[in-house]
């Protein structure tokens, strides 16, 4: 343990002398959060909606009326054919085009889930973002009121949104917790990989591994500092959120930090693994992006997992970020507690152990 402490002390001494590295690890994440979270918007009212009601039932007419009477949406026109909707969006005469397929009322009556489609103009990210949020909220409320009135387990109405022109926008509420996960994972993985590969590249590792230090001590000594940095990172991001985005933390801060620590350990293990696969810092960077890109695309951070092809959905089960995202969004937005996240915590822990084991077996105290 003494050797580990010595390594940690050395690492911090070096970090203190390398302001660029510190900036990379502490300031950049906050800036990234601000960039990601920029999709924040103030309240927008009276979004123009064009409707194509192909169901033509009392239920569908009620739905449209309810939508139009909410303060956020104004139904400005009805069209007969779905393809006429496009023109309204193209010309910018409406921000939302809602299409109700035939048979909606019948499906609801039979206790099946019905879907409606919403096309959104995403060219104004803020408006598009808010529109999605309001639409989902509206349909969730509708489904609940349907469920209240009838069978409690009724699947209700699902809104399938498709955003045109700028498909990746998302609301700050959804974005901030997700961005936090992505950013701290990225920073911890890259910082660890670089810290080890840098020693290999400039040759200092040679002097270190010619001492009787054990592999374990070496690995702990090289990763623990970045666990600390990662926790500082997470704190900075939470503060930035409190100051800038005001996404309320509904659940327990302690639980959030504990799970964050676990996720950081997992990210450090990935960094360690990457370091065993790279000889130069440049290689390490490339390998890290190779590992982390799927995380961005497939973890559910940008696109909902349930919309992915089945094969991709299976692939996501090995992404630690996938589980961490659900946990953090849960704690943040829904205020869930430990019992609710066990289902995510178990695979996350298992992955952490697996990756750590792989990294440790690959990490040799030798040059070849």
């Amino acid at each position: 343990m003494e050797r580990v402490i010595e390594l940690v002390r050395k690492e911090f001494r070096q970090l203190r002398r390398d302001p660029n590295m510190l900036r990379f690890m502490l300031v950049v994440p906050v800036i990234q959060l601000i960039l990601f979270g920029y999709a924040v918007s103030t309240d927008i009212k009276h979004l123009r909606v064009v409707v194509c009601d192909m169901d033509r039932t009392a239920a569908s007419r009620d739905l449209v009326r309810a939508l139009g009477s909410s303060e956020h949406f104004d139904v400005v026109a009805h069209v007969d054919r779905p393809r006429d909707l496009d023109g309204w969006l193209d010309r910018g005469h409406a921000a939302v085009a809602l299409s109700i397929p035939p048979g909606m009322a019948r499906k609801l009556d039979q206790g099946q889930r019905a879907s409606v489609q919403a096309l959104l103009d995403g060219s104004d990210a803020n408006t598009g973002t808010v529109a999605i949020a309001y639409l989902s909220r509206f349909f969730m409320a509708q489904s609940e009121s349907l469920a209240d009135g009838n069978a409690p387990d009724r699947p209700g109405i699902r809104v399938e949104t498709r955003v045109w022109y700028n498909p990746t926008l998302a609301s700050a509420v959804f974005m901030v917790p997700g961005a936090m996960c992505v950013i701290i994972g990225l920073a911890a993985t890259i910082a660890t990989a670089l810290a080890i590969v840098k020693e290999r590249e400039i040759g200092t590792i040679e002097q270190l591994i010619v001492t009787p230090i054990s592999s374990w001590e070496l690995m702990l000594g090289k990763t623990l500092p970045y666990l600390g940095v990662g926790m500082a990172n997470a704190t900075a991001i939470l503060l930035a959120n409190a100051l800038l985005f005001h996404v309320p933390l509904r659940g327990s801060l302690a639980l959030l930090m504990a799970v964050t620590a676990l996720f950081l350990v997992c990210s450090l293990a990935i960094g360690l693994l990457i370091s065993t696969l790279s000889r130069t810092q440049q290689q390490a960077m490339l390998t890290a992006f190779f590992f982390l890109m799927p995380n961005f695309l497939l973890s559910g951070f940008m696109f909902p997992i349930e919309n992915m092809p089945q094969a991709f959905q299976w692939a996501t089960t090995i992404l630690p970020l996938r589980y961490f995202l659900v946990i953090v969004r849960g704690i943040f937005l829904k205020g869930v507690g430990l019992p609710d996240i066990v289902g995510q915590l178990l695979p996350l822990s298992a992955l952490t152990v697996a990756i750590m084991t792989l990294a440790v077996t690959r990490f040799a105290k030798r040059l070849d």
């Binding site: 003494e2 010595e6 002097q207 010619v210």
Partner: protein, 310 residues
């Protein structure tokens, strides 16, 4: 004779299809200074890295301090000090911080630690630079710091890989005085060098080429066994131009300009007259052709530049 401090038997290291070290065998007696010579790429560092447990030998056997390097590399690491050919302490830490770090890594007891660090800094003459970042120091001081770090835990055997490369002559001498002191204390040192004056100070030498040992013995043995038969020192006008003529003269193995003279390795005694005649007929006034004693440098050139070993 006591057990060898370092012992290699048919040590081989391959990187893929390339054989960097090819059946190397030698032994080093305890308390001696053992020199490793050979052109760049001849496998010196690779051999040392295997002996230090940094690389796993492909085949063959090596023991350091009686411990097998392949079976128990960690056991080897406890008793050796190592100075890599590339400076491998932390350039962004000060001299003292580097030593404190390694003192901790070697688990030198806390109450002894400061005293040990002071001792090493005094001994290697880096104490005046204690607060300087290693990266801000001259190569000479840096190398002495590296030696200091390698000595902190009082190893019985030290491996010094090109410790004086790029170091000025005064620092080099100082460095070798230190090596002499270590040897006097009974520490075994294996040193690689490109400087023949340093090789001359070793108790025994091994000369490597393309991964193989091509000669070994004391400096005097090597000269007797491997020096070219005759060495001539030729003084003439325009030595640069004369060199081409000398190199073409039959019986000349190798020739080089040394200041105003030509240094010629020859097959036989009769060459002196022939050279004189050749040079004079080509218009180079030849003022002196003198036979001189061979040095390690002649041996090195002979073995390193001559026919490749079979």
């Amino acid at each position: 004779m006591s057990e060898a401090a370092i012992l290699c038997r048919d040590l081989v290291k391959r990187f893929g299809a390339f054989t960097a070290v090819d059946r190397v065998s030698f032994e080093v007696k305890p308390g001696t200074v053992f020199g490793f010579l050979g052109p760049n790429g001849s496998g010196k560092s690779t051999t040392i890295r295997m002996l230090c447990g940094l690389l796993l030998p492909t085949s063959g056997r090596a023991a350091v301090g009686g411990v097998d390097v392949a079976r128990n590399p960690e056991g080897v690491k406890r008793q050796i000090g190592y100075m890599s050919q590339r400076f491998s302490l932390y350039q962004d830490l000060t001299v003292r911080e580097n030593l404190e770090f390694y003192a901790g890594v070697y688990r030198i007891p806390r109450r002894e630690r400061q005293a040990r660090i002071e001792e090493v800094m005094t001994r290697t003459g880096v104490i005046a630079d204690a607060g300087t970042l290693a990266g801000d120091m001259s190569v000479g001081v840096r190398q002495r710091l590296a030696l200091g770090a390698a000595l902190l835990h009082r190893p019985a055997i030290v491996f010094l890989d090109e410790p004086t490369s790029g170091v000025d002559p005064i620092s080099r001498r100082r460095f070798w005085t230190l090596i002499g002191e270590l040897s006097a204390e009974g520490i075994t040192a294996l040193v690689t060098t490109h400087h023949m004056d340093e090789a001359q100070r070793c108790d025994e030498l091994v000369l490597m080429r393309t991964g193989r040992v091509v000669a070994r013995g004391t400096p005097a043995d090597l000269i007797v066994a491997h020096a070219p038969p005759v060495i001539l020192s030729v003084r003439c006008d325009r030595p640069q131009e004369a060199l081409a003529i000398v190199q073409k003269t039959s019986g000349v193995r190798r020739a080089a300009v040394r200041g105003v003279r030509l240094h010629v390795a020859a097959e036989d005694d009769g060459l002196a007259e022939r050279l004189d005649a050749e040079l004079t007929s080509a218009g180079h006034a030849c003022t002196e052709v003198r036979r001189i004693g061979a040095t390690l440098e002649d041996v090195f050139m002979e073995l390193a530049m001559g026919e490749a070993p079979p």
